[in-house]
Symmetry: C2
Subunit: 273 residues, 2 copies
Amino acid sequence: MPELPFRERLASAMESADSLICVGLDPQPNRTAADEILSFNTRVIEATADLVCAYKPQSAFYEAAGFAGWQALKDTIETVRRVAPHAFVILDAKRNDIGNTAEAYAQAAFDWFGVDALTINPYLGGDAVAPFLQRPERGAFALCRTSNLGAGELQSLQVGEGEPLYLSVASLARDWAAANHDNLGLVVGATWPDELAQVRARCPDLPILLPGVGAQGGDLEASVAAGVDADGQGLLVSVSRSVIYAGDEEDIREAAQDLRAAANAAKPARLSS
Amino acid sequence: MPELPFRERLASAMESADSLICVGLDPQPNRTAADEILSFNTRVIEATADLVCAYKPQSAFYEAAGFAGWQALKDTIETVRRVAPHAFVILDAKRNDIGNTAEAYAQAAFDWFGVDALTINPYLGGDAVAPFLQRPERGAFALCRTSNLGAGELQSLQVGEGEPLYLSVASLARDWAAANHDNLGLVVGATWPDELAQVRARCPDLPILLPGVGAQGGDLEASVAAGVDADGQGLLVSVSRSVIYAGDEEDIREAAQDLRAAANAAKPARLSS
């Protein structure tokens, strides 16, 4: 049976859990030893499976642990498939390169790890983004406005007729999505709610992956109000440390539950039905 | 014994082989099977050890092969250390992320794989670049103007008072290098010799990694003339397919020899002494 297109699969993942919450599976090297990563992640996945639309492992933390880390990443993805079969898996890898090299990264993510989406960097242009968008049922999220303090150093440079670069990236991403399989979204940090509103206005229909709530200080309510689409969907609120290090399994579940409820309550009134 | 600083180590690698040539260890998935990568690379390294200043494995091709690929990458790096101890190893990974995530990528590259430098993406700004520049003896090359046809889509957008984005990146990179350990260089594609000359004028002292000669059509002579620094150094001409797939060990050696000679001959006359 052929899989459904990317956007339908993503919408289904969000609707079936009635949740905008994506849990970042980011075992911090100084808090979780390499040989404990899988059991650590399994506990988080089991505690949150019915509460979230997606899991987002951060590739860097696994790579830093060497072979053991790569094995843990592959096993973690398989654990999500088994325990939370409705959920999307987004590999946070911020990859990009040109031509057949980008295709090799796509193979690593989609074919070898078997994830549904990965994060990519737009700096190389549309011909380097296209290899990530060749599988209609898989897709990518391109960095637009990142959550770090220095994000604006490049991303807010005024380009062309005076708009910041990140808005040009948003426009380009809209074109790239349309030129492929409508399977590209954007990454916008929750630390910049005004910029998020601008990006949503520019791209009413693109899914947005939103890191930065919680430990990084982004405001959940403001971000949800600014970031959801006209249907109160299309926004994946990614939280990590505040959930995965919340405490025991019950604490983890409660943290995810509270975030799901707060995010749903923050949808603009006409949408919260 | 503490290691020398990054720039001294790089200069020493170039001088000891009297070579600007960096060989890209890029086993194409459709031409080299995963279990043949190490023997394929070993043959290339043995054939070229005294002719090149650096080797540059392209991470994507190894990642696409899964665990076997990661093992081959680690073994390849160890093979360079054994067979060509003078040579730099540059992991072409085009990584970046924020804060402690970037630090995890730096750990993966420098501590786990043990490379001397890696390529990084500048889109996230200087605070995301800094974690790659904390080891005085290791460093990074930031994408500036990439070799692909679509490079200009973002990189040539006019910013600020009307200069292309890639020149702003060049200026920022100069500042980032100075603010750390003078251990940041730039990636500029050989397919754009005019842009290369502009970048060299903007950053007289930064090392430049130059892919795109050979299969991608970049002109070696024009690039060397435009790209070397005032001492006729500071440019790493990266070639891959035209060397590694040249034929048997003798053909590979000959291809590297010819490129080394052509690159050295193309240095501006006052420098070729």
